[in-house]
Structures are given as structure tokens and as C-alpha cells.
Amino acid sequence: MQVNDTNKEFRPLIVAFCCNWCSYAGADLAGSSRLSYPADVKIIRVPCSCRVNPMFILRAFQRGADGVIIAGCHPGDCHYTSGNYFARRRMTLLFSMLDYLGIERERTRVEWISAAEGAKFSATMNEFAETISRLGENRRLEDLRCKE
């Protein structure tokens, strides 16, 4: 694992997929409570965590994202009753696969954040951004096929 403490200039690029009903509202609450997190985190609104296609995550990495986080309703609280359960299985398997390919497992994450958890939203994003900053730039997915 490459640790990148020395590079202070490095600003990670983080894509956060947030479900409309819980986590996006949680982000709104973080905002209205003025709970800051790094500007490196950019949110994309999706109706449900189950809308997040693995292709979106890989696409983000392909286009230069250093970390991708998916935030949805807590299990049992899905607005659509079961969407996050499907998302949970898909993401577990996908993350395991990325890990298997040697991509740092810390670059991907799923968090369950409710509309009331503005503080959790902010804390999670701060912590995730810090982890990604430590890891440094994501090269591996692109490098996988570089001819040696």
C-alpha cells in the first residue's frame, strides 16, 4: 500500500453517491447545521442506493476519482423497502473483487446515513477524505493494464 503523507498538495477527488431519501437529506442537514467536510467530496443524487451501478463506480475511478462512497438508508429503513439490501450485496461483492485485483480496499465504502444523521454525514466524509488523502492518488485501476 502506498502511503502518501508527504504530498501536502494532493487534493483527493471523492465521489459520493447519496440516496435521495436518507443520505442526501443527511447531507442537507450537515449543511444546514454548518458541519463542514472537505470540498473534495462531490455528491451525486440517486433515488436509492440500489440505483448505483458498479459501472458508475468504475467510471469514476477511470476518470480520476481517488475514492468512491455510497451512502444509503439504514438497512430496514429503505424508502423502497428493499433497495439497500440489494445494494449491500452488490457492493460487498464488487468491493471484494476490487480488493482481489489489488485496488486498495479503503478507496471504496458504503455507509448507511439517515436524514437525521447530519453529524454522521459530516464525520464520515471527513474521515473518508482523510483516508483517501493518506492513500494518495488512485493509479492502480488504470495501471492494471499498463504494459511493463
Binding site: L13, V15, N20, Y24, A25, A27, D28, A30, G31, S32, R34, L35, S36, Y37, A39, K42, I43, I44, R45, V46, P47, C48, C50, R51, V52, N53, P54, M55, F56, R59, A60, R63, G64, A65, G76, D77, H79, Y80, T81, S82, G83, F86, R90, S122
Partner: protein, 661 residues
């Protein structure tokens, strides 16, 4: 190519304080499709909205991006604004530069930079937006209630009261359900029949309510507002129009072998019978399994004795087809089978009974005319042991993991009533916990202990064995930490309750989901507790989870309110952000239907024209009136045939690309 206008809001100083709004507006001016940018103090104000409307007209905009507060705040506002200027309301995208930007970032450069990126993402998405129109469907102003217990009756009465037609389908010969079997009700001890039968009569008398008793739902098709239901009417062999309900036939019937279901098999009934005196309709039914005439062709005593000439052995099963706008499941419960609980000896000891059997023994219309007598020898019991949580809160796998909720209270009721009527009788109750959350419930339980001297023992019974005509109850008292041995005359088991088994079939027909315990699932456990995830299907009573009578009635009325709300609409307008399957890409593999929580996806055989090649293919078809737009199907679909309008794969990837650029 779109013609996009970008409107950056200052939100007073809320945004403008940490984001350079002018710079945001000028930075996105060169983005693809953008033909107009501006900024204004309050975009949501009348002035701001007017500015948007004018710009749409003057610049011939095809879509707008508003960089402002959260879409959860003002998306609806700006959609209306766009619509007023002749745009499709779904040609609006919001870049959330307040909650996600200005409010959380202190550095103005940083905030501005992020706001620009968020605006670019919204523009990239909007470039791929298409005008969306919500589908409309009609509403059949009639409701179906499945189950004629107190839940179904209350729901039907409330719906009828609002002026809508409602049909009740009840599988047994009479409405009334479990409540009709009860003697007294906690915590007030008023008799169940006294409060239930007036409601039954009201239901029968209402010109808006139509009863299909001795009938079952056979098939359901359609969707919210437009269900088509087939109802199977089983033959009663008695003409309801002619029958006067005199009951002579039931007395003359020579067949006496059938256990009386209403009395929980504690006595027998004839082959022709009326379940109980206040049954509605008060028309007997012939049990074809028991009737000598139907089985052998001989007998016919009932027919000979019927002065109304109502007996009709030629009656056949009938299928009725009706249309409904809404369906309420009120299928109720039954006590679980006790075959897994050998230790209590229910199967081989007549004097080990369930609480529901005790209700019948205590009831004045029951097999003992309300005198408490042991089923084995007809003697009066002097020492009675109640065992709670038989099969409830059971993690061993023999019973149910959940709390049946009603047992603590009815056991206290039984104990109290026995002590009241027969003060010479000793009453012991073995319990794990006594749960009494409910209005006047704990007071009721305390009365049983304090006023009536019921002996509550915290602990479980290990074994009930028969010895010299007595029942030897061995249990443990967890408080004094010792073994307890009681020689009882009668043991009453508070058997767990479970959803009536018919619910499985009904859930399948309704595409309503059920949980691992066969309870119907609500659309949201907290916020939509009386709706099923399937639009137009509602839940009433214990079919959704254990509950007592007051809660059942409350839920029944809540379900009725939801039905009335639905039936009061002439048209249903859907959410246009629904899934859509590309018929040329669809493989017909059915995976999407497996993950749809609403059963919105059907498969049809359709002739498609694939680049000149015409063939009939099995393809997915989304019912837009039922789809709620979660998108679970879109990720399951490997070919990408399934997409979600308003959040298409291309749109989301465009946002990803814009952010990562």
C-alpha cells in the same frame, strides 16, 4: 442540442457569502448547451422566478439549471416556474450549492471552485434530460376487503361511510372472525359479542357493503385503481334468498361427527350448520364432507324439514369477476399448532387446552354454556395453571421468534375472570415477562395480582405430566430460584398466534410481500404502516403483525382512510421517473422482476422490429402506475435494457464525468 440557461442564486448572503456567484455564472457560460447565464439575489422569489420565465422565453431555453439550495427545498418550485413558461417541468436540474457548498466551506475560492463543478455536473446531466410526462390512469371507485373479521368489518364500514362501494370476501360461512369467538375483552371486560355483533349488523345492513361469505379470492390482476379480481363462491347448498334462518334443518341433521370449528372442536356440529347464533348471514351451510345426502344420495332430512324450500343440493361453485380500485388485506390470524410442544402434553391430555379453547369454555354460548368444566370429566377445576409464551419469543425454532402481544393481557383477563367467578379456584400463571403497554393495561394486570390474588410465577414450565387424573406441572421460579411442582386440574396454554395460512396465497396474488413469519410487509415500517409496498394494496389487522382489538380497529380505520383517499381521486397521476425497458435490448431473463419491490415488471410476448428483423420476443414491460422509481432493476439488468427515467445511466455517468473531469 439543448439550449440551457443557468441561474445562480445568492440566497442573500447564504450562498454569495462564500461562493463567488458571478464567477460561477461566467465559468459555466462555455459549457456545452449553455446559452444564457445569470445570477440573482433570491431565485425562489417572485422576482427570481419571473427572471427565469422571461429568460426561457427570450432565449428559447429548452432546459434550466438553478444553482441554489437543496432540490429537496425548491426543486418543485422551479419545476412549476419552468412549466409556467412552457417548459417541461423535468427539464430542470438543481445544483445544490448551498447545503453542499456555501454552508460548509469557509474558503471562498474553494467554495466557488466546488460550486462550478456542481453546476457543470447539473449541466452535463441536463444535456441528456428528456421531457417526461406522468402517466394517468382511472380509478375504479370500489374497494375489496379480504377477510371479514373485526379488521375487515371496520375497514369496510369506514369506506362505506365515505360513500364508496365495498365488498368483503370472507372464506368462512359468516363474518365476525376471531373476535366472535371471544368471551370478554380486556381491559374493560365487556362482552365481545355485545360490541362486535352491532358492527356485523351494520355491515350487513349497509347498502354500500356487499358480503361474499363462504367465498375466496381466486385471482387478482391489474394494478392500483384498476384491479380485476375473481372471487370463488363456494356452494352453501342453501338458497340464501329463500332461507329464513329458522335453524330447524340444523337440529334435524343426523350427521354429528364434525368438530365444531367455532367452538375450537370442543363439541360437534351437524353437517348443516350455522356457526353461531349471531352469524351473518344467518343462513346455514352444508359441509359436503359430512353430508350423508351429498356423499351417498340418501337422507335429505334437512330438505324435507325446510318449510322455505331453501335447501338446494344442486348448487355449484360460482366465479364472480369484479373490478376494484383498492384492495385491503385483513386476513387475520390463528393460534399456532402445538405439535412441537410435546412437553405440555396438549395432544394427549384433554385438560391441557389453549386460551382460545378456554374462551369458548367460559362463553355462555359455548359448549358448557359458560360453566367452567374440565373437558375430560366435566368436573369443576380447582387448580389452574396458565403457561404464557407457548411458542412466542421462541428462538429454538419450535415456535415463533416474535412476541404475540395479546397473550399477557388475555391471560390476566382469564385468570381474573376465573378468580371472580370461582373464588375457590387457585390460579397460577407462568410467565417470562408480563408486557402491558397499552391504555389501562398495567392497571388491569395489577388488579389480577393485587385484587384477585392470581399467583404469577416468573419462569417457564418444563413439563406437564398426567398423574392420577391430575396434571403435574413442573416449572421453575426464577425469582426464588427453585423448582415448582403444581398438581393442576386444568392447564391453559397461551399459544402464539401466526398469520392465517391463506395469506401466503393472497400475498402472491396481490404481489404483496410477506416477511419470514408470513406477516404482510408494510410499505415503510414507520411512515407507511398500513400500506403494502404494492400500490393500491392496504393492510388491516393482524395480517401485518400481532395486535389487540383496539389497535386492530385503529389500523383498520387508518387503512380505510388510505383507501378513501385513493378512491376520491378520479385519475391517478404517476411519478414520471419510472423504469423503462428498451424492447430491443431486453433479454427477457426475468432478473429485474426478481428485485422489483412492487411487482411492477411483467413479461409480455411482443413482436419487435430489430433493424428490419421482425420476431416475437419475451420482453420486460414496466407498469408505470406501479413503479416507484427506485432503480433496483436497472443494475440487475446486464444488457442495460432497463433504465430509469430522470436518472438514466447516461445521465449519472455524465455527472460522474463532469465531477471527475
Amino acid at each position: 442540442m439543448q439550449r440551457i440557461g443557468v441561474f445562480v442564486c445568492w440566497c442573500g448572503s447564504n450562498i454569495a457569502g462564500t461562493v463567488d456567484v458571478e464567477k460561477v455564472a461566467s465559468s459555466v457560460a462555455g459549457e456545452p448547451g449553455v446559452v444564457f447565464t445569470t445570477n440573482y439575489q433570491y431565485m425562489c422569489s417572485e422576482g427570481g422566478q419571473g427572471m427565469i420565465r422571461r429568460a426561457i422565453k427570450e432565449h428559447g431555453l429548452t432546459g434550466i439549471v438553478v444553482c441554489s439550495c437543496s432540490p429537496r427545498m425548491h426543486e418543485a418550485t422551479f419545476r412549476k416556474t419552468a412549466q409556467a413558461a412552457g417548459l417541461n417541468p423535468y427539464m430542470v436540474e438543481i445544483a445544490n450549492i448551498r447545503e453542499q457548498c456555501s454552508w460548509i466551506h469557509k474558503d471562498k475560492d474553494e467554495g466557488t471552485e466546488k460550486a462550478v463543478i456542481l453546476a457543470k455536473a447539473a449541466i452535463a446531466k441536463l444535456n441528456l434530460n428528456k421531457p417526461l410526462t406522468a402517466g394517468e390512469s382511472n380509478v375504479t371507485k370500489r374497494a375489496l376487503v379480504i377477510g371479514g373479521g373485526i379488521a375487515g368489518i371496520q375497514t369496510a364500514l369506514d369506506i362505506a361511510d365515505a360513500g364508496y362501494e365495498v365488498d368483503i370476501v370472507e372464506k368462512s360461512p359468516t363474518i365476525g372472525g376471531r373476535m366472535a369467538q371471544l368471551d370478554k375483552t380486556f381491559p374493560t371486560l365487556d362482552c365481545a359479542a355485545c360490541i362486535l355483533t352491532p358492527k356485523m349488523v351494520d355491515a350487513a345492513a349497509s347498502d354500500k357493503i356487499n358480503l361474499y361469505t363462504y367465498s375466496e379470492v381466486e385471482a387478482v390482476s391489474g394494478f392500483v385503481g384498476n384491479f380485476k379480481v375473481k372471487i370463488k363462491k363456494k356452494p352453501r347448498y342453501v338458497n340464501s334468498e329463500l332461507c329464513s334462518g329458522c335453524g330447524v334443518c340444523t337440529e334435524k341433521c343426523p350427521s354429528r361427527k364434525a368438530p365444531n370449528e367455532f367452538n375450537m372442536g370442543l363439541n360437534n356440529r351437524g353437517a348443516i350448520y350455522i356457526p353461531f347464533a349471531q352469524a351473518i348471514p344467518n343462513v346455514p351451510v352444508i359441509d359436503p364432507e359430512q353430508c350423508i345426502k351429498l356423499k351417498t344420495g340418501k337422507c335429505g332430512l334437512c330438505e324435507k324439514n325446510c318449510t322455505a324450500k331453501a335447501i338446494d343440493f344442486t348448487q355449484k361453485e360460482e366465479i364472480i369477476e369484479r373490478e376494484y380500485g383498492a384492495i385491503v388485506a385483513a386476513t387475520g390470524y390463528r393460534p399456532i399448532s402445538l405439535e412441537n410442544f410435546d412437553e405440555f402434553g396438549y395432544a394427549h391430555n384433554k385438560d391441557v387446552i389453549t386460551s382460545l379453547e378456554l374462551e369458548r369454555l367460559m362463553n355462555a354460548a359455548g359448549p358448557t354454556k359458560g360453566v367452567l368444566l374440565r373437558p375430560s370429566d366435566g368436573e369443576h377445576p380447582h387448580e389452574i395453571v396458565f403457561i404464557q409464551c407457548v411458542g412466542s419469543r421462541d428462538t429454538s425454532g419450535c415456535g415463533k421468534p416474535y412476541c404475540s402481544k395479546i397473550c399477557c393481557m388475555y391471560t390476566a383477563k382469564h385468570a381474573m375472570m376465573i378468580r371472580d367467578k370461582y373464588p375457590d379456584t387457585k390460579v397460577h400463571v407462568f410467565y417470562i415477562d408480563v408486557r402491558t403497554p397499552g391504555k389501562n393495561f398495567d392497571e388491569f394486570y395489577r388488579r389480577a395480582v393485587e385484587e384477585y390474588g392470581v399467583d404469577y410465577i416468573k419462569g417457564m414450565v418444563g413439563k406437564v405430566a398426567e398423574k392420577d387424573g391430575k396434571l403435574l406441572v413442573q416449572g421453575s421460579d426464577l425469582i426464588s430460584n427453585e423448582q415448582v411442582h403444581i398438581e393442576a386440574d386444568l392447564v391453559v396454554l397461551a399459544a402464539a398466534i401466526e398469520p392465517d395460512p391463506s395469506v401466503r396465497n393472497i400475498a402472491t396474488m396481490l404481489t404483496a410481500s410477506i416477511d419470514t413469519n408470513n406477516f404482510l410487509t408494510e410499505a415503510h415500517p414507520k411512515l407507511r404502516p398500513v400500506e403494502s409496498p404494492t400500490a393500491g394494496v392496504f393492510l388491516s389487522g393482524v395480517c401485518q403483525g400481532p395486535k389487540d382489538i383496539p389497535e386492530t380497529v385503529a389500523q383498520a380505520s387508518a387503512a380505510a382512510a388510505k383507501v378513501i383517499g385513493l378512491l376520491s381521486k378520479d385519475k391517478l397521476t404517476g411519478n414520471p421517473c419510472v423504469a423503462h425497458s428498451d424492447e430491443l435490448l431486453c433479454n427477457g431473463c426475468s432478473q429485474c422482476a426478481c428485485v422489483c419491490p412492487y411487482g411492477a415488471i411483467d413479461y409480455i410476448d411482443k413482436e419487435v422490429n430489430d433493424h428490419g428483423k421482425r420476431e416475437v420476443r419475451r420482453i420486460a414491460s414496466v407498469n408505470e402506475a406501479v413503479c416507484q422509481g427506485c432503480g433496483a432493476c436497472t443494475v440487475t439488468c446486464p444488457s442495460g435494457a432497463m433504465d430509469l427515467k430522470g436518472f438514466t445511466t447516461r445521465q449519472i455517468m455524465a455527472e460522474v464525468d463532469a465531477i471527475c473531469r
